[in-house]
Symmetry: C2
Subunit: 195 residues, 2 copies
Amino acid sequence: MARTKDPDPEVRRRILDVSLDLFATKGFAATGVQEIVTKAGVTKGALYHYFKSKDEILFEIYGRVFGHELESLQRIVAEGHDPVRTLRTIIVDLVSHTAAITKESAVFARGGHADSPHWQAMQEQWRRYQEGFRQVIRDGQEAGAFSSKASPEVASWSVFGFTNSMHTWYRPEGRKSPADIGEELADLILTGLQS
Amino acid sequence: MARTKDPDPEVRRRILDVSLDLFATKGFAATGVQEIVTKAGVTKGALYHYFKSKDEILFEIYGRVFGHELESLQRIVAEGHDPVRTLRTIIVDLVSHTAAITKESAVFARGGHADSPHWQAMQEQWRRYQEGFRQVIRDGQEAGAFSSKASPEVASWSVFGFTNSMHTWYRPEGRKSPADIGEELADLILTGLQS
DNA sequence: ATAGACATACCAACCGGTCGGCATTGACTT
DNA sequence: AAGTCAATGCCGACCGGTTGGTATGTCTAT
C-alpha cells in the first residue's frame, strides 16, 4: 500500500483559509505573519515549511481569481449564438463565478504589489478578458444587434464595476441566487445596448 | 506686508499630497511614515507637528470623498424634474465628481480600517447616498417612468460599481470628458430601466 | 519673552524570515 | 523481525531591520 505523499495537508489548507480571510478583511500589508499562524493554530515554522514567503500565500490566492474565466468566455463565444444570447450567457457566467469567490475577489480589489510579476500576469489576464468582452459587444454592433451609439467601454465597465464591487454587498444567504442577479444585470445592460 | 498666519502651510499640503499619492498607489498600510517625509522633502518632526498620527492623514483624505455628494443628490431631487431627467443629472454629477477625485477614490476603494469611527462614519454617508439613489429609482417606478421589473439594487450597483472602478481606467487626458462619460452611462442605464 | 515651526536623535515594539533541533514514518538492509 | 537511515513535518527561539511615534532642542518672527 504505497501511501502517496499527501499533496495538500490540512495545516497548509488552514493557513490558506485564514490568510484569505485576513487579507480580504484587513488587507495584505496590514496582516502580520504572526497573526495568520495564531488564528490558524499553527506556528511560524509550519507556515514557512509550506510557503517560502508571505507573498507566496498571496500569489496562490491570486491564482484562483482569473484562472479559467478567459477560457470560459472563449468557449461561450465559440458556441456561435446570436450576440444578445452570447453576451447574456457571459454576464451570467461572470456574476456566478465572482459570487463563488467573493473573498478572493475582495483581495484582488484591494490591489497592490504593483511591481510583482504575479500581479502583472494576473492584470494581463484580466486585461485580455476585458478585451474579449468588448469584442463581443463590437461584433454585436457590426451585426446590427446592438446600437452603434452605445459605448463598449462604458457598457463593459458597468459590468466589471458591478462584479468588482460584489464583494461589498453580495451575501450567499440572500434571497437572490447569483444566476438570478446575473440575469437581472444582463437584462439591464442588454436592453441599454439595444436601445 | 503683514503676512497673515498661513492656515494651511505648504509643508502641510506637501505631506498631504504625497500621502495621497502613496496611499492611492501602494496602499495605506504598505506606506511608511519615513517614505512620506522623504518624498515630501520634510522631516518626521514636521509631519508630527501637523498631524498627530499617520491615521489622521488618512482620515483627512477620507473627508474629501463623500463630503458633499449627499447634499448634491438631495439638491437635484429637490429641483423636482421628471425621474428620467433627475436620475440622469445625478449620474452625470456622480461620475464628474468621482473623476475629479480619482486618487481619493482609489484610497477609498482599497478600504481598510474597518474598526475606526472615521471609516464607519464615511461608510454611513456612503450608505445613505446609495439609499437616496435607489429611492429615486423606486419613485420613478411608481410614477411609471421606469419598468417595475427592473431591480433598483442591480441598477444602482451598476452605477456605483462603475464609479468605484473609475480610478483603474479613467485618465483626465483621455478623449472623453467626465461629463461625456457620465452621459453615456446615463444613456445605458436609463434605457435599461425604461425597457 | 513667548509661541509656533520645524530638525534631530532616539526608542520600544513589531516585522518577515531563519535555523537548529526533534519526533514520526516509511524504505531499505541484514 | 530488528535495526538503520533519510526524509518529512513541524517547533519556537532568535535575528536584523523597520515601524510608528516621541522628547528635546533650535531657530525665527512677533
